[in-house]
Amino acid sequence: MNMQELTPNTFSPKATAFAAAAAAALLQACRKSDDVFELETPLLYADNSSKTKLKTNEQFINILYTGLFQTAPTEDYLSALSTILTSIGDQLLAREVVIANFFNTPDVQLPSMEEMRGNVGAFVEETYKNFYLRLPGAAEKAWVTQFIESQPEYTPELVYFAFALSNEYLYY
């Protein structure tokens, strides 16, 4: 992974698992079949400027699935879903469809409303680390925190949806 100016790891245990799984999933999606990778504490990007490589459909699905379900998808699942993504011309729409299906699955692992509302600032930081493998800038953290706090009905699921659908999440 192309990371610059590495920041010291400040992941919570849950976020570490999430991000490590995401990093491993990215590696798995790229690996040759006889390679063996071990999970390491994921490193953080200093900012998003070095994210210039577009994830493949397989990488996108693998990372998102692993993050949301805390387990890697099977190779058959990965192959089938990435083929389906290819069959839909508007890739943004296709990802909306995939994410909306993930969130309709009972096994999806999401923070509770109480966890998010208990400390919105910390939740925002964890979410940036989970999805973007970086910390939010001060302005980003302030905006997103205020955005969530100003809308009592806004759920962690909607936050995750927005991050999973965002442009930055497509790049590494």
């Binding site: 069959s87 011309g89 508007d90 299906n101 927005a162």
Partner: protein, 443 residues
């Protein structure tokens, strides 16, 4: 339908201001059109996979292709005038001996104009499909890369102002670089002017529902709109060039409509109520059923559908004639259904054209009926035909004859451009073949 429309209207209103949607003109267009339009809807069938002229427009069935065989006749009797073979019926259903009944009481050739022999540019599938969509011989066009020159989809959207969901490409599969055909890599055109695309054999295959058949529905105002507001903020902090964008420019309203369409297709696939051609037993007929559903739902200005099953001819001539017969059946169903779609009946133009032909001489592969097979690489592979029908197309007119070509493959896209008001803009852009012209200019 009221609920669907209401939902779309609400969701569209709800996200207004949340995203930077292009300005919709009262006509429903994104931008003002640059030319006059003589047609309301155009459907282009890429009757593709490599159709040998002798068995299609030549109507010679086995007589030309298979040594010792004499059976002649018209396999494509929904499209072309002429009697079907009266012996050696191998292309039908069951064991092949039961020919599929004609859907159209009057063949399209009698309803419209047949260009009996037309010149193709390219004898490879992807290059040849590109020649239809780009209107040029795509020199330097490689597999697995986007079309190098703009496609008709992009011309329509950029110069005609057509919305994304007004321009569709329905592919037969996701193989053979087919999903790359909905827009080019040209820097002045590209994704922002691309067509919406489905490959129904994948997108709507019953097995796919395990993966995408259970979308959660979000409230347009209290959930979806705020979610998009956060996404919009996140995107504003990540710079991307136009070349990095991967969205076709469907508005939120259009996307919600497409998702509703997908949901309905999944439900109707399960209930067996997709409007498939009566004898659907192939990928081409399956694809055509969903193309028809796209027409019914979106009533687009332009839809292009690609068929490909006839390519079985590389190693199985019997499968080839079966596929050709089914492709004709699919076209018959398409035209018949269009005449029942409010808003499209009576004001839709149909263009059917193969992307390339097949060789004069067979290869060494013999199928179970002892029939030789044909590849596509020689001069005979550049012999194709074109068939037009619609309100402004002269009826019962045949132009050209075997060996005397009138028209070339690039003329199909120029005809679409002509009908939908962008011909001058396409010509001025300068990326089409210098000889490309509308079929109407040849009539």
């Amino acid at each position: 339908m009221t609920n669907r429309r209401d939902f779309i209207k609400k969701s569209g209103l709800a996200v207004a201001g949340a995203t930077l949607a292009p300005t919709l003109l009262p006509s429903g267009r994104l931008f003002a059109s640059t030319g006059s339009r003589s047609g309301e809807h155009v459907v282009l069938v890429m009757f593709a996979g490599g159709v040998r002229h002798q068995e299609s427009a030549g109507k010679r069935y086995l007589a030309d292709a298979q040594p010792g065989e004499t059976a002649e006749g018209n396999l494509l009797y929904n499209m072309l005038s002429g009697t079907p073979p009266n012996s050696q019926i191998l292309y039908g259903t069951g064991d092949g001996s039961v020919a599929i009944p004609s859907i159209l009481t009057t063949p399209l050739q009698a309803q419209g104009t047949l260009f009996n022999e037309v010149r193709a540019f390219n004898t490879g599938h992807y290059g040849a499909l590109n020649s239809i969509l780009q209107g040029s011989d795509p020199v330097g066009q490689g597999l697995r890369i986007r079309p190098v020159a703009p496609t008709i989809f992009e011309y329509l959207r950029r110069h005609g102002g057509y919305a994304a969901s007004d321009v569709w490409f329905v592919g037969n599969s996701v193989g053979g670089s087919i999903p790359l055909l909905n827009y080019s890599s040209h820097p002045d055109y590209g994704i922002r002017y691309g067509a919406n695309f489905f490959a129904p054999t994948i997108t709507f295959h019953p097995n796919s529902q395990t993966y995408i058949g259970d979308m959660k529905t979000y409230h347009p105002e209290s959930e979806w709109s705020p979610m998009l507001r956060l996404k919009s903020f996140l995107d504003s902090n990540f710079s991307m060039t136009d070349q990095q964008l991967d969205a076709l420019g469907n508005t939120t309203e259009e996307k919600e409509n497409i998702k509703l369409f997908m949901k309905e297709m999944n439900e109707r696939t399960n209930s067996g109520t997709i409007d498939l051609p009566p004898a659907t037993d192939s990928g081409d007929t399956f694809s055509m059923g969903y193309a028809v559903e796209v027409l019914k739902w979106f009533k687009p200005a332009f839809l292009c559908v690609n068929l490909n099953d006839v390519d079985a001819c590389h190693n199985n001539f019997t499968s080839y004639i079966k596929a050709m017969h089914r492709a004709d059946h699919a076209v018959g169903h398409l035209w018949n259904t269009i005449q029942s779609i409010p808003g499209m009946a009576g004001n839709t133009t149909l263009i059917c054209i193969p992307e390339c032909g097949r060789n004069d001489e067979p290869n060494a592969i013999v199928d179970s009926n002892g029939f030789v097979s044909f590849d596509h690489s020689d001069e005979n592979s550049k012999r194709i035909f074109a068939l037009l029908a619609g309100p402004t197309v002269p009826a019962n007119l045949t132009l050209g004859s075997e060996g005397t070509a009138i028209g070339q493959v690039s003329d199909a896209m120029m005809t679409v451009a002509d009908l939908l008001g962008v011909k001058e803009a396409v010509q001025q852009a300068g990326y089409t073949d210098p000889s490309a012209q509308s079929f109407f200019d040849l009539i």
